[in-house]
Amino acid sequence: MQMQNFKNPVVNWIDHRLPVFSFMHHELNEYPTPKNLSYLWNLGSLAGFALVMMIATGIILAMHYTPHVDHAFASVERIMRDVNHGWLIRYIHMNGASFFFIVVYIHIFRGLYYGSYKAPRELLWILGVMILLLMMATAFMGYVLPWGQMSFWGATVITNLFSAIPFIGESIVVWLWGGFSVDNPTLSRFFALHYLMPFMIVGVVLLHIIALHRFGSNNPLGIDVSGKQDTIPFHPYYTSKDLFGLVVFLTIFASAVFFYPNFLGHPDNYIPANPLQTPAHIVPEWYFLPFYAILRAIPDKLGGVLFMFGAIAVLFVLPWLDKSPVRSGRFRPIFKVFFWLLFADCILLGYLGAKPAEGIYVVLSRLATAWYFFHFLLVLPVLSLIERTRPLPQSISAPIIGGMAMAGAAAKREKPDA
């Protein structure tokens, strides 16, 4: 990092002693970014925005919320009815969770398609999977807090997963609950942890960004930057592009918050928790449905839990399963087909997770689960051995060399320089 000379003497004085401005200049203005990033590369900064939005609204909700079984539901209703703009803040937080996951899932599929997990970005990818895990834990605990029927029964079902662990499972569940069922001690600790975990996410996100800035962004061609002609400064180019993406995101998000705030929720969660009566159809929030489908596909309690966590664990070792030297799916004709099959498979799993576990749905869940693991554990390692990839362009600035159809299409989309 080069110390900068700033025009403003105050900035200079501070920067000499505490080089925050040089740091920002280095990370934003000097940070060379491949110039061919598509809009799919907006999702990272968008996820960062969503995280900040969730923390801001979450801290505010915590000011008005009471983590006690007798008062939690009523305190949420007080936020909705009496607190100034409380309905707005809660609906932003509630829908924000869903939109955070939408953004992060697209971000992950982008990484899968363009091989963003490959050397030298393995740790960057692993940190990302850790963020996903933390997000899932945070979202789960947050959903318990309103203490509606879905909160209560979701908490009961998910904490019971741990009882599948041999020998110590039961003790672990009692330890998680702080009692013999989901009750007040459970609610209090979930509240404390729901407040804590977002800050752990912030910590891992910082590491994620440090790892990102070590080698810079991957790009749609998946080839390394070869020189200055391939890059542009992050600011103002990508800041302006990210801003446009953010506004588009906010437009969609606002439509949900203001016009369909309960579209992604369950009506049952507006019924106060009742430990004596389980709702007829309990399903997790949509972002857990694929994992829920895997859990139910396995006809064995421990097996189901293992496969469900395995579905994430497999992402941790992905960089070593796919050893193909070519990153981008654009130059891997067979991989590309399998990528879209995996994508469809995940959507199918999500659909099945919302269906009752009976009849054809069980069969389909098992097939879809099998395909998921087949893709990661067999298809990817084998493909990296046998696939004939297309020739790579020499550099980002000259992607047409070799005459690839995909690269040609990329060039055609660009507007001529005025």
């Binding site: 203001f258 369950h266 009506p267």
Partner: protein, 259 residues
């Protein structure tokens, strides 16, 4: 861009399927739901105050014998179009428990606008005991707490019929085509002309049901009008900003030689 489209298409397909599943489940588990045309649905939805007041009257004279409205305070009735004196007068008709007083005793006093609407039973056990074991749910969130809430409750209130001859209706149960399983513990609450409206409007069973559902929809989502109005302003602002920020991005990028 094409990939982005495909991805978002996929995700929206997924969400669409989930929602379709959700409503299919709701429809499959429940009975026949008739769709009604509500003033409060849609992006320009609003509450018809006259209907809310009539609905409140129906709630008060019919429903409130068994069903509470625990999250509504008398002061909230300002949103139905009552002024402060009218609200005070309504509140004063009810007794609420307060205390303890200086002697340590709980006592009853006339309600004031700041009080919650008193529930008919002191607790769930008392409510069950008085209703043959069935718990009449609190109505303050009922429209949000049921799938397709407004239409569902409207259908429920208007779908009490005689059971088909082959069906055996047990003692204490009632046949209702809109209810899941068709056997509901609640007896038909409305028959038409149950309540005399001061404004002389329709007192058919359908009109009563529509009014009380409007009132309950307001009770569930009192912020609805404000939410949708704010939403329109926000969307207009963001749409303009979409165009402006896209243009800004285009101009900033105009000197980048791609490929």
């Amino acid at each position: 861009m094409r990939k982005l489209n495909t991805l978002s298409l996929g995700l929206s397909l997924w969400l669409g399927m989930i929602m379709a599943t959700g409503s299919a489940l709701a429809a499959g588990a429940g009975g026949k739901i008739t769709e009604h045309d509500w003033s409060f649905s849609g992006p320009f939805g609003y509450f018809d105050q006259a209907s809310l007041q009539r609905g409140f009257q129906v709630y008060r004279e019919v429903c409130s014998g068994c069903h509470g409205l625990e999250f509504i305070s008398f002061r909230n009735f300002a949103e139905l179009g009552y002024n402060e004196d009218e609200i005070k007068a309504i509140a004063a008709e009810y007794e609420v428990v307060d205390g303890p007083n200086d002697e340590g005793e709980m006592f009853e006093r006339a309600a004031i606008p700041a009080d919650r609407y008193p529930s008919p039973f002191p607790n769930e056990n008392a409510a069950r005991a008085a209703n043959g074991g069935a718990y009449p749910p609190d109505l303050s969130l009922i429209v949000k707490a049921r799938p397709n809430g407004a239409n569902y409750i409207y259908s429920l209130l208007t779908s009490y019929t005689d059971a088909p001859s082959e069906m055996d209706v047990p003692e204490g149960m009632h046949y209702n085509e809109a209810y899941a399983g068709q056997m509901i513990a609640m007896a038909a609450p409305l028959y038409g002309e149950d309540v005399d409206y001061a404004d002389g409007s329709d007192t058919s069973i359908e009109a009563h049901a529509a009014d009380v559902v409007s009132f309950l929809a307001w009770a569930s989502e009192p912020e609805m009008e404000k939410r949708k109005r704010t939403g329109l302003a926000v969307l207009i602002f963001l749409s303009v900003m979409c165009v402006v920020s896209y243009k800004a991005k285009q101009y900033i990028w105009s000197d980048v030689k791609k490929a």
